[in-house]
């Protein structure tokens, strides 16, 4: 029996003082002789544009919002029992530190088929683009 086990009884998931979940995200670097850009796509289906807030805070991309749990419409007098509930809902946040040469002022966003596309131009440089952090999924706020 390890002594250290006595100090903690670790809870299985982390600590989320604010938001409940974090959506998944893909990140790309695209480069041509003319320009280079960073493309971030976040899987965020079933959102109203009002539910979403995209901001740059201290050179970090922060995407936060809230998603309602999708539920069937109910006819009158109809009762619904939830058999399973897997789709994340409630408040979420996802943030991403940007590479130094990112130019957030040129950022464009597009919400299409449940995917949030964010494109940030990069200033041309010879250094390898892989130097910046690419994808970091943090499950805590």
């Amino acid at each position: 029996m390890d002594v250290a086990d006595r100090a903690f009884r670790w809870q299985p998931s982390g600590f989320h003082p604010g938001e409940s979940w974090a959506p998944s995200m893909n990140t790309f670097f695209a480069r041509s002789s003319k320009r280079s850009r960073m493309v971030v796509v976040i899987e965020l289906a079933g959102l109203e544009p009002d539910d979403l807030k995209i901001e740059i805070h201290e050179h970090r991309l922060v995407v936060r919002g809230s998603r309602r749990s999708p539920e069937p419409d109910r006819a009158a007098g109809e009762t619904v029992q939830i058999q399973s509930l897997e789709i994340d809902h409630g408040r979420f946040v996802r943030w991403l530190p940007l590479p130094r040469r990112a130019r957030p002022e040129g950022m464009t966003c597009r919400y299409e088929s449940g995917m949030l596309w964010i494109e940030i131009p990069l200033s041309p440089t010879r250094s390898s683009p892989t130097k910046g952090p690419v994808a970091q999924k943090e499950t805590f706020g």
Binding site: A4, Q11, F15, H57, E58, R68, G90, F140
Partner: protein, 844 residues
């Protein structure tokens, strides 16, 4: 590890910033009203009683829902709202709790996930949102419902609060770092939490404290106080952990060590079992040693010592090096013949027969041995003498030892001392040294298995000596009959009685034996064999042995006397009989080759005569050269005594015009060179009496050479021979043929006695000398000379060099030569007078 820590810190440092965001974003939470809408806590919430755990705000936790009432509540409420109230039961066991059975403070939580298991139970994942209190229970039959109110926190402020918050972070960090099972993210999460209230909640959720304590933390809305109570828990845990870690480390290290030892020991046992050396066999070994010790019956003192060592052996671990050291020591003790003696059957006639059987002649030695036996018979406890047989190689000294042992009915042990340089070889090494062994004497006694063997110390004169000590000195103790009854070998370390051993040493030349050693021994000289002896030895021993060795039957080959004489005279020149045996062997082999080539069996007998010997052995190796060599003036035959027996020594002198220099060659030793110088000085000083002008000598260089230049020669006994050679040369008179001489010369012309007369006369007769000039003072030694040799030689005893010259050059010839020289000298002087009066100055 440190690296990992570092990288973790880096990540923490990088990700820390956004955490401030919720704080700073708190202000615009109002702006997020639409988003926050979902999270706002309804005033009326269904209550889910939970057991055994407290859900803190901010934690995400799976819960298993087993109670039907809870399931019904979830079924009914979740479709409307995902937010429920979680209250912890006071009593975990209670199946159907009433409101009073719940703690008053709970948490409003969002149900994030729901899964139904096949067995009807439901798993949900809840996310704690806010602390709530029950304001009023609402009626409901299936499940509890209540009007709740969100308990607002009282945020801490001030330096003290900040300090305690910082300390909490620090200690919590330490605690996490000390627990190896902490999830990877735990530290990151901890360091990312900026709000002290959240920090307290995070730790409260994860610390291993009991339910009531957790509930206390949940109920504490004053953040400052909550922080402090968490800090107390964390510090306590930290203290405990440190203490426990220390104890654990101590215990582990001691357990580790002893377990390691145990493990090794087990392995060792297994190996020993494989080797058949396990404890049981050790016990058996010790038992066996005890029995053998009893049987060996050493003297009481030794017995006590050995038994003490045996007891010690039992307590020593068999794997330790000391064990095997002790074991071999004890084995030596039990093996030594403390009380085992060879049975003494002293039968003088039989002993004599055995000695005669094995060796021809050697009358003196045999007589001494028989005397020893006789004394032994009369006084069995008398001390054994220590005999030393001295003689040239091949005369049978070593084999005599074996026959002595046979004659005495004892074991024979032979110790070759040739080349031994280390004193420890004789007396052993102390047991403290690794690889220590008893000395050779004790080893030989152990091998012989009797405490009274005949021990031959062979080649005593070949003992070496270097920085490791002087083995000869170590032998002093062994060979002193008064001391060796308590000989202490260093390895054995207890006295062993050597006094019953019959020591027989052998040496070729006593000159090399330290005087302290020769003093302790009874020296018996064995001179070389005369030709007559050799023929007898060949006939009786060598020929039969060689025939046998070469597979010939006695009747197939007979040796005739002339053949043996021819081999002895023309093919060998030695004191012993080794070369003789080899030559006989060579002839026998040749005959064997012929016998083997004959196809059908034949009764033919090979008669070995002189002709056959010449055929098989080829040209003669040695021949009588005396006549031709001594026929010129300036060549004299001297006699020398060497470790390999007597030797004929030719001394040649020649002169040529020069400036009176002298050259001596032939690898002469210092003593021989000096005697040559003395001879020359004597001749110069007496030159006038021979009618020779000393100045004439000074105008010539003299060269004295002793042939067989590769053999080192030394000693003073060639003095008169040197003088004779110079005189013979200067007077131009050859020495009488077949004449040899020996004797030391003084500067006043007296002749001093010499040693080794027997060997020298033997060599002279072997070489075919007819007359020998000896010092007058050696006349009394004549009795010792072999009668057959004495008969063959004519002896002339001299006192002065004048007598030497008269005897060696012949009275008349000497007189004539002196007269001639005087006349020549006068003529020369007259001539010189004439030329000098002419004033030409031939020698300016």
């Amino acid at each position: 590890m440190a690296k990992r820590q570092q990288s973790r810190n880096k990540r923490v440092a990088r990700t820390r910033e956004p955490e401030t965001e919720p704080e700073s974003a708190r202000g615009d939470e109002m702006g997020m009203a639409a988003i926050d809408d979902q999270q706002s806590i309804p005033a009326i919430l269904p209550i889910l009683p939970i057991r055994g755990t407290v859900v803190f705000p901010g934690t995400v936790m799976p819960l298993g829902i087993g109670r039907p009432s809870s399931r019904a509540m979830l079924d009914e409420c979740l479709p409307q709202s995902k937010i429920i109230a979680l209250f912890t039961q006071r009593d975990e066991e209670m199946e159907d709790p009433r409101p009073s059975d719940l703690y008053p403070v709970g948490v409003a939580a969002a149900v994030l996930k729901l899964m139904r298991q096949p067995d009807e139970t439901v798993s949900i994942v809840v996310h704690g949102l806010k602390r709530i209190g029950i304001e009023r229970m609402l009626p409901g039959n299936k499940y509890m419902r209540a009007k709740v109110k969100v308990l607002e926190e009282v945020p801490g402020e001030g330096k003290l609060f900040e300090a305690s918050a910082r300390q909490l972070t620090q200690q919590a960090r330490q605690l996490i770092e000390m627990s190896p099972n902490a999830p990877d993210q735990a530290l990151t999460v901890l360091l990312n939490i900026e709000n002290p209230a959240h920090l307290a909640d995070f730790l409260g959720a994860n610390l291993n404290i009991d339910l009531a304590q957790k509930q206390d933390l949940l109920e504490q809305t004053i953040v400052d106080k909550r922080i402090r109570s968490v800090l107390v828990h964390v510090s306590k845990q930290l203290e405990n952990l440190k203490l426990q870690a220390k104890i654990q480390a101590d215990v582990q290290s001691s357990i580790g060590k002893s377990q390691h030892k145990m493990f090794l020991r087990e392995q060792l046992k297994a190996i020993q079992r494989e080797l058949g050396e396990d404890e049981d066999s050790n016990a058996a070994t010790i038992r066996d040693l005890k029995q053998r010790l009893e049987a060996a019956a050493p003297p009481p003192k030794v017995m006590a010592e050995a038994q003490r060592d045996l007891n010690r052996l039992e307590s020593i671990h068999p794997a330790s090096p000391e064990f095997s050291m002790m074991l071999s020591y004890l084995e030596l003790i039990v093996d030594l013949p403390w009380s085992v003696s060879g049975e003494e059957k002293i039968d003088l006639d039989k002993s004599r027969r055995i000695l005669d059987r094995d060796h021809f002649d050697l009358e003196k030695v045999k007589r001494r041995l028989i005397e020893y036996l006789a004394v032994r018979k009369l006084n069995p406890d008398g001390r054994g003498p220590i005999l030393c047989l001295v003689g040239p190689p091949g005369v049978g000294k070593t084999s005599l030892g074996q026959s002595v042992a046979d004659a005495l009915g004892r074991r024979f042990a032979r110790l070759s001392l040739g080349g031994i340089r280390d004193e420890a070889e004789v007396r052993g090494h102390r047991r403290t040294y690794i690889g220590a062994m008893p000395g050779r004497i004790i080893q030989e006694i152990r091998r012989a298995g009797q405490n009274n063997p005949v021990m031959m110390l062979d080649e005593l004169d070949k003992l070496g000596s270097d920085f490791r000590g002087d083995p000869a000195s170590a032998l002093l103790e062994v060979l002193d009959p008064r001391q060796n009854s308590a000989f202490v070998d260093r390895y054995l370390d207890v006295p062993f009685d050597l006094s019953r051993i019959l020591f027989i040493a052998t040496a070729n030349y006593m000159g090399n034996v330290p005087s302290a050693l020769s003093d302790r021994m009874e020296v018996i000289e064995i001179p070389g064999y005369s030709d007559h002896d050799k023929v007898q030895i060949a006939r009786r021993f060598l020929v039969p042995r060689q025939l046998k060795e070469n597979g010939l039957k006695r009747r197939q080959c007979t040796w005739l006397m002339p053949a043996l004489h021819k081999v002895i005279n023309d093919y060998t020149r030695e004191s012993g009989v080794r070369e003789l045996e080899r030559q006989i062997g060579a002839v026998s082999r040749a005959i064997a080759a012929e016998v083997a080539q004959i196809k059908k069996p034949t009764k033919r007998t090979w008669r070995v005569d002189a002709k056959l010997v010449a055929k098989y052995l080829g040209p003669e190796k040695y021949f009588r050269e005396l006549d031709s060599r001594t026929r010129t003036p300036g060549v004299v035959c001297g006699l020398a005594y060497t470790p390999v027996g007597g030797e004929l020594l030719f001394i040649e002198a020649t002169s040529y015009p020069g400036r009176g220099r002298v050259q001596l060659t032939g690898k002469l030793g210092d003593i021989m060179k000096e005697s040559a110088d003395a001879a020359l000085s004597l001749f110069k000083s007496t030159a006038k009496s021979f009618g020779i002008d000393p100045r004439k000598i000074n105008r010539r260089d003299l060269h004295i050479h002793v042939p067989a230049g590769a053999v080192p020669k030394d000693g003073p006994s060639a003095g008169i021979a040197m003088f004779t050679a110079i005189a013979s040369l200067m007077l131009d008179v050859p020495v009488i043929p077949k004449l040899a001489m020996t004797g030391e010369l003084t500067l006043r012309g007296r002749v001093l006695p010499i040693g080794g007369l027997k060997e020298k006369t033997l060599a002279a007769s072997r070489a075919g000398i007819a007359e020998v000039i000896l010092p007058e003072l050696n006349r009394r030694d004549l009795a010792e000379i072999d009668p057959r040799v004495a008969k063959a030689l004519r002896f002339t005893f001299v006192q002065t060099v004048d007598e030497v010259l008269e005897a060696s050059l012949g009275k008349h010839k000497l007189k004539e030569a002196v007269q001639k020289a005087t006349q020549a000298g006068m003529a020369v002087r007259a001539m010189r007078d004439k030329t000098s009066s002419l004033g030409t100055g031939m020698h300016s």
